[in-house]
Amino acid sequence: MALEVSDAELAALVASRESQAEAALFTRFAPRIELYGLKHLRSRPAADDLVQQVMLIVLEAVRGGKVEDTSKLASFVLGTCRNVTWDLRRAAGRDERLAREVAVVSHPVAPPSQSEVDVLRLRGCMGRLPEREANIVRMSFLEDQTAEEVGLRLGLTPGNVRVIRHRALAKLSGCLQTKEAS
């Protein structure tokens, strides 16, 4: 199914049980919900959980014609994300308290997920950053130092460290896109 339909048109297709319309709805919104989940729930499994829960609620609402203004479907999905995230956080807080009570402590080490090409591409882009920006990226992300700690080492305020870090990430992202395209 072509994805060039508007949100309202897509909602109408889902409500009329058009084949593939639900898959198209999922394709359109799942990445948005996942990003929201990563940002607010800070783990990929939790973000995946959020995608499933939100999409179920949205699909039921669209199928049942319960979305008042389907031209604002994106806002409806975002609102659902906010509500479900609030519930998940509350449940996570409860689980954390339980875990502390039974003293279940683990420190998993996430295996690197990057391919060799990814690593070398990133290294190449890091090499193009001005020294101060490269140092701040290294200290922040590879050495797990806070903006306050980096600032102390480099004689900068934490606010300055954050601004330089945003600039450096913007340059790295731009560089990686150029390298991917070439």
Partner: protein
């Protein structure tokens, strides 16, 4: 809201936007394919950076790595020495434990050169353990594609109350085996 620049998207990814700006950007990217793509790339970049093994390890990162399934081999090397490390598919990471007199050091810099003396790369203000007199350099099997790294000449420079001075020269021989 119109599409923000990449610096704002970086701030969003790190959770460093104000609450109002954050909500505004969320409302925007839910309806904007371009910003969704940029924010997804930025999220991946930050995750990749956090998963990347740094060239010089903090004590905490070394402990985490040694407790992981990778269990990298560690080779001690003292000033003036040459040492070898084998890197292959079954040994993707190796640690050089470079010993040096670092008591009183406030900062340590690292320089790597090829066999002809050309600078390969420099790392400023690297992590070090002053008490144990150690700087731990991590080498990975995919470094084999970087020219000049196979036989690497390294220098540590310490800065203390007396100024900056070299505290150790090392020859690090990487024996890369085909994956």
């Amino acid at each position: 809201m119109s599409c923000p620049n990449l610096e704002t998207i970086a701030a969003f990814t790190l959770g460093e936007l104000g609450e109002d700006e954050q909500r505004a950007f969320e409302e925007h990217y839910f309806g904007c394919d371009d910003c969704l793509a940029q924010a997804t790339r930025m999220q991946r970049l930050v995750e990749d950076l956090r998963a990347t093994l740094p060239p010089v390890l903090t004590t905490a990162r070394r402990k985490r790595l040694e407790a992981s399934e990778q269990r990298p081999q560690a080779v001690d090397v003292r000033p003036g020495e040459t040492a070898s490390i084998r890197l292959a598919g079954d040994a993707p990471v190796g640690l050089w434990v470079m010993h040096a007199p670092l008591t009183g050091a406030e900062r340590v810099d690292f320089e790597a050169r090829d066999a002809s003396g050309n600078t390969l790369f420099t790392l400023s203000d690297v992590p070090f353990d002053a008490e144990r007199g150690e700087v731990v350099l991590a080498c990975q099997v995919h470094y084999r594609t970087l020219p000049g790294v196979a036989m690497m000449h390294a220098t540590l420079t310490a800065t203390d109350a007396r100024g900056s001075h070299p505290v150790g020269e090392y020859v690090l021989d990487h024996r890369f085996e085909s994956p």
